[in-house]
Amino acid sequence: MTVTAVRKDPQRLTLTIEAEFDASVERVWQLWADPRQLERWWGPPTYPATFTKHDLAPGGRIEYHMTGPAGDQPHGYWDVLEVDPPRRIVLRGGCAYADGTLTTEIPISTIRVGIEELAQGRTRMSIENVFPSTEAMEQILAMGTEEGQRQAVSQADAILAEETIQL
């Protein structure tokens, strides 16, 4: 597993997860900077994400929707608060209706991404999620995640099993 640390603070509603990748800082940065790559990992296989706007610059905006198995399309957005390529991104996001208007005045999460080189070709990414309330957390989790999440894990396991056989 590449996840190296998980910190959860139920009183401050914060989750920090750290992962290490066998790739350069630039390569890991592209996971966020390239919307076509972002949509490959943001949503689970049953709820693939489509990014319709991706202005990764301070004050910029990112808009996306996910498409569920029943054709449902929850929409989301992020306001880009800070960007320091290829090391740091701060986003504040929430849910939106299909026409782009927000479902709530209050953003439902802040995401801070940090990317640092550990060694040549070895990179650590840390992702900190801060939520204003448990209602906000429920809202994001309801955006096509739980069921799909299990499927993503089983798919990953299938790929890993295949690789083992090939080795």
Binding site: K8, L13, T134
Partner: protein, 121 residues
């Protein structure tokens, strides 16, 4: 869309204060009344009473009558909701990181293949 039971925002603003979190921690064992709780803090009895009232309104603690005493008891269920939600988030991000890895492996594979082709020429 599943929304948290009403009042959970209140739970978390109630828990946003250091003294109140400490009261919640102490009240898990449900042995003390407000007077005993107040003795742990360098603030007035009235101030502690106020904190207890905030926690009680949020449903984080309840007062329970045992004989002539009123014991403060933590409602563990309310506190556990946040932990359950954070666990779900952890699963969400673990799955995303798995997909990031697949994507990186895929593009690394593409470069390797290109290099192999190059060297075979």
């Amino acid at each position: 869309m599943q929304i948290a039971p009403p009042g959970f925002d209140r739970v978390f603003s109630a828990l946003a204060d250091h003294t109140r979190r400490d009261i919640v921690r102490r009240a898990i064992s449900a042995e003390e009344g407000v007077l005993e709780l107040a003795s742990h803090y360098p603030i007035s009895f009235a101030a502690v009473q106020k904190h207890v009232a905030v926690l009680e309104r949020a449903g984080v603690i309840t007062k329970q009558r045992i004989g002539r005493r009123r014991i403060v008891r933590t409602n563990r269920e309310a506190v556990l909701v946040a932990r359950r939600l954070l666990d779900q988030y952890e699963g969400l991000w673990r799955a995303r990181i798995d997909r990031m890895n697949e994507l990186i492996a895929e593009t690394a594979g593409a470069i390797d293949t290109a290099e192999t082709k190059e060297s075979k020429r």
